[in-house]
């Protein structure tokens, strides 16, 4: 994970003038973003002509901007993120084009000139390794043949739509599963949007804002070995031929994710328009407690060619021939320590959003304790010193009378 290198927001150095300039630059064109609250609606776009197709449109409208997240399991699971500078922009779906072999133009966000930022993520493949079989050339163990997520069948998204939590869950398993490894297992993508900022109770408790949405990937009940390690391949559409930069931010604050002092993020371009953010931790148990925390290692981003990765119709429908694809891998767990094998479960979460990524601040409780802890002894010394001085003065006066 080299990319943008290290950056610390505490301790080592303050924000440099360059950074401040960058912030100003990036805020200027997207000044319309950064809304406190948004009106969020979830809608499964109806496909009147044929069998239901999972196309979830999450629309988060603010006072003068709108974010569109389009999630779909048409092809590999993918999401389009489009930010516009009007609260009235809409998504147009032309089903016949979208489902055709040439889907360009099947998805549009109107008015076209309101689009400030657009990109996409595609979750293409799931790799599995046998960690009992480690060699120097295969540090994670012997690989099994990877699962192509384009060849998964998914539940009907309408059934899992929850307007109360603004979430929906894609649950899938391989279409062809001769060895029945997924007989009781599933791979789920739980997507959630937010109307205001907050922090979920579930670890890793990433701070979200109204400009972000969260994806939780969970794998349960499926493996081909006793000690399997998993790796997820993510493909993203870049804005330029060069790949976005990956940043590892070191922090002093692990209050919300005990013993995790790092936050990874991926910025589409240096003038931060869109971002992915996650903590390098995955969990081997549903409660996500600390004993089940395992490292999540992200590889560097590499440019990739469209024909090397499974294509997502919705990405091609919106972006047409634009093909600056970059790919990276997320590896969950390590050969030792907690792992998927504990409970045949692993989960990992990330945020996807626009604008400046959310930054954790010290909690009021910590600040309060620190204030009391530092001020109290000082006050005591001051008060006591005064008392002693006054006492001595009186004592001296008393003596002088004598």
């Amino acid at each position: 994970m080299k990319g943008g290198g290290e950056r610390c927001w505490w301790g080592r150095r303050g924000p440099s003038p360059e950074l401040l300039l960058n912030l100003l630059l990036c805020l200027a064109p997207l000044g319309l973003l950064g809304e406190e609250t948004r009106q969020v609606s979830l809608e499964v776009v109806p496909h009147s002509l044929g069998p239901p197709v999972n196309l979830l449109h999450v629309r988060a409208a603010g006072t003068n901007s709108t974010l569109h997240y389009v999630w779909s399991s048409l092809g590999p699971p993918a999401v389009l993120l489009v930010a516009t500078n009007t609260p009235h922009s809409t998504l147009m779906v032309n089903w016949s084009t979208l489902l055709s072999p040439e889907p360009q133009g099947g998805l549009l966000v109107l008015p076209k000139d309101s689009v400030q930022f657009a990109s996409a993520l595609v979750f293409t493949r799931l790799f599995e390794f046998d960690s009992t079989n480690i060699t120097t050339s295969e540090p994670l163990g012997k690989p099994y043949s990877p699962y192509s997520l384009a060849e998964f069948s998914w539940n009907n998204i309408s059934d899992s739509l929850d307007p109360a939590t603004l979430s929906a869950t894609f649950r899938g398993h391989p279409t062809k599963d001769p060895s029945r490894t997924f007989a009781n297992g599933s791979l789920t993508f739980r997507v959630q949007a937010f109307s205001r900022s907050g922090r979920p109770a579930q670890p890793p408790r990433l701070l979200h804002t109204a400009d972000t949405s969260q994806l939780q990937v969970a794998l349960a009940g499926a493996s081909r070995g006793n000690r399997s390690l998993f790796r997820l391949e993510v493909v993203m559409l870049g804005q330029s031929p060069s790949c976005p930069s990956m940043q590892e931010q070191h922090s002093i604050d692990d209050e919300y994710a005990p013993a995790v002092f790092q936050l990874d993020q991926l910025l589409w371009d240096p003038h931060s328009s869109g971002f992915m953010q996650w903590r390098p931790v995955a969990f081997s148990q549903q409660q996500g407690n600390r004993e089940s925390a395992m490292p999540c290692h992200a590889s560097a981003l590499e440019p990739t060619l469209p024909y090397l990765v499974p294509q997502s119709p919705i990405v091609r429908a919106f972006f047409g021939t634009q093909n600056n694809f970059c790919a990276f891998n997320l590896t969950f767990g390590a050969p030792t320590g907690p792992g998927y094998w504990d409970q045949q479960y692993l989960s990992w979460s990330m945020l996807l959003g626009v604008g400046t990524p959310p930054v954790d601040a010290l909690s009021p409780l910590i600040l309060g304790i620190m204030a009391v802890a530092l001020v109290a002894p000082g006050l005591m010394l001051l008060g006591g010193g005064m008392f002693l001085l006054l006492g001595r003065k009186q004592h001296l006066e008393y003596q002088s009378i004598n």
């Binding site: 070191h250 005990p258 013993a259 010290l362 304790i369 002894p377």
Partner: protein, 459 residues
């Protein structure tokens, strides 16, 4: 630390007062230095095992938690169970040695407890029963602290009026070396056993701990050898068995003055922010500062490493200058600074840990002798017993709380908690200073003033 031992009667007074037959070579002659050096070596290794094994859990934190499938709260119970018996035993260790067992049998029995405790602890790993490990730590705790008292009693018995302070210093250094070696050796040993057995798991952990237990056997052998030599010296020199000379009267507690209670408060609030931190420190250095396991062990032991040579030096410094409260204030403030560096910066933690090591050594040298200034001599045993008892109680409770905080709120919050503890300690120091000033107490006299008062008393 336990100055009261110095009060015990000297039993080997005067070289050659009762000269043994001249035929003995120097090394076998209890009245000669060469023989005493052999005894000193045995005394030093007597405590090595218990100090080595005390911090076994800290050295193997990740391994224990993984192999036994426990969270940090449960992990810290291993420390709490060590402390529980000592909440009570601090009062009775001296009594048991003086009245029940005698120093020789007492030492052997306490060493046996240490050995058996460690073996049970290791067995708990082998049979994969965490409750058995906890029980092992409990048994280990029964022996551990009392063994330290026995060790000091032996030192007084053999070296009173000779090289006693040096011997105390050496024993303390040896204890710190034991802890350091443990921190740096156990992880390596575990990986070797892992390679040998082909996998990690509770058996690997148990075997590693069992091998660590060899140090306890070594200590037991030292206890046996010391008992033999001590008896032999009694026969040749007609000396009596050593006694701690501790008299514990629990009713003395009602006579304890405010400054003494403040000293207790300083003590407990300070130590709970040091030992549980070291117990949990290894993973902190790995996760926050990106240290390797080996480097994390090394830095986690740096407090002990510094304390080994610095204790005698600071002891001398405090002796020569007096002004104990000021020294304690400096030590507590430095510790506060060190915890703040660890909590709120990403600076190289060697700075903070070295500062912690220095301040920890300074505090030990300045705080413990203060008790002797505020308590009449006949209550000294009770006061020290009480101080250790409260310290152990604090350690037991805070260990559990620290584990819970870490599991739910993480290291930053844990550090803030420790900062609050140290701050309470600092508050107590300030209060102690003020009370001492207001009452015209002698706690903060310089060495010169103490000398003058001593002279005026004798006149």
């Amino acid at each position: 630390m336990e100055d009261e031992e110095e009060e015990a009667r000297s039993l080997l007074a005067g070289d050659g007062a009762l000269a043994p037959p001249a035929t003995l070579p120097a090394i076998c002659d209890p009245s000669r230095l060469a023989h005493r050096l052999v005894v000193l070596l045995l005394m030093c290794f007597l405590g090595f095992g218990s100090y080595f094994c005390y911090d076994n859990p800290a050295a193997l934190q990740t391994q224990v938690k993984q192999d036994m499938q426990v969270n940090t709260t449960k992990f810290m119970l291993l420390y709490a169970w060590y402390s529980w018996p000592n909440v009570v035993l601090c009062f009775f260790g001296g009594f048991l040695i003086d009245r029940v067992f005698g120093i020789r049998w007492g030492t052997i029995i306490f060493s046996c407890f240490v050995c058996i405790g460690q073996v049970i602890f290791a067995l708990g790993g082998i049979v994969n029963a965490f409750w058995l490990m906890e029980f092992g730590r409990f048994v280990f705790g029964i022996g551990g602290e009392s063994l330290a008292v026995a060790q000091n009693t032996y030192a007084v018995s053999w070296f009173k009026g000779k090289e006693l302070n040096l011997v105390f210093g050496l024993q303390l250094s040896m204890a710190r070396i034991g802890s350091t070696v443990n921190m740096n050796l156990m992880g390596w040993l575990y990986s070797k056993i892992e390679a040998l057995m082909g996998s990690t798991g509770h058996t690997t952990l148990g075997v590693t701990l069992m091998i660590g237990g060899i140090t306890c056997i070594l200590s037991l052998i030292c206890a046996l050898a010391l008992a033999y030599l001590d008896q032999r010296a009694e026969r040749i020199l007609h000396k009596e068995q050593g006694k701690t000379g501790e008299v514990i009267k629990l009713t003395d507690v009602k006579d304890f003055s405010l400054p003494l209670w403040l000293i207790f408060l300083i003590c407990v609030c300070y130590y709970v922010a040091v030992f549980p931190f070291i117990g949990l420190g290894k993973v902190f250095f790995i996760e926050k500062f990106g240290f390797s396991s080996q480097a994390a062990s090394a830095i986690n032991s740096v407090v002990y490493v510094i304390s080994a040579p610095m204790s005698p030096i600071f002891g001398l410094l405090v002796d020569k200058t007096g002004k104990n409260i000021i020294w304690v204030l400096c030590a507590v403030a430095a510790t506060l600074a060190s915890h703040m560096l660890l909590a709120f910066t990403l600076w190289n933690p060697w700075i903070a840990m070295s500062l912690l090591g220095v301040s920890y050594s300074l505090l030990a040298c300045a705080l413990w002798p203060m008790v002797a200034f505020v308590v009449p001599e006949h209550q000294l045993g009770t006061a020290y017993g009480f101080m250790q008892s409260i310290q152990n109680l604090g350690l037991a409770i805070i260990s559990i709380i620290a584990g819970m905080i870490l599991d739910t709120r993480g290291y930053l919050f844990l550090e803030v908690f420790f900062i609050a503890c140290v701050s309470l300690s600092l508050l107590s120091v300030v209060l102690l200073y003020l009370v001492n000033r207001a009452q015209g107490g002698n706690l903060n006299y310089s060495a010169k003033q103490r000398e003058e008062i001593k002279l005026s008393h004798t006149e």
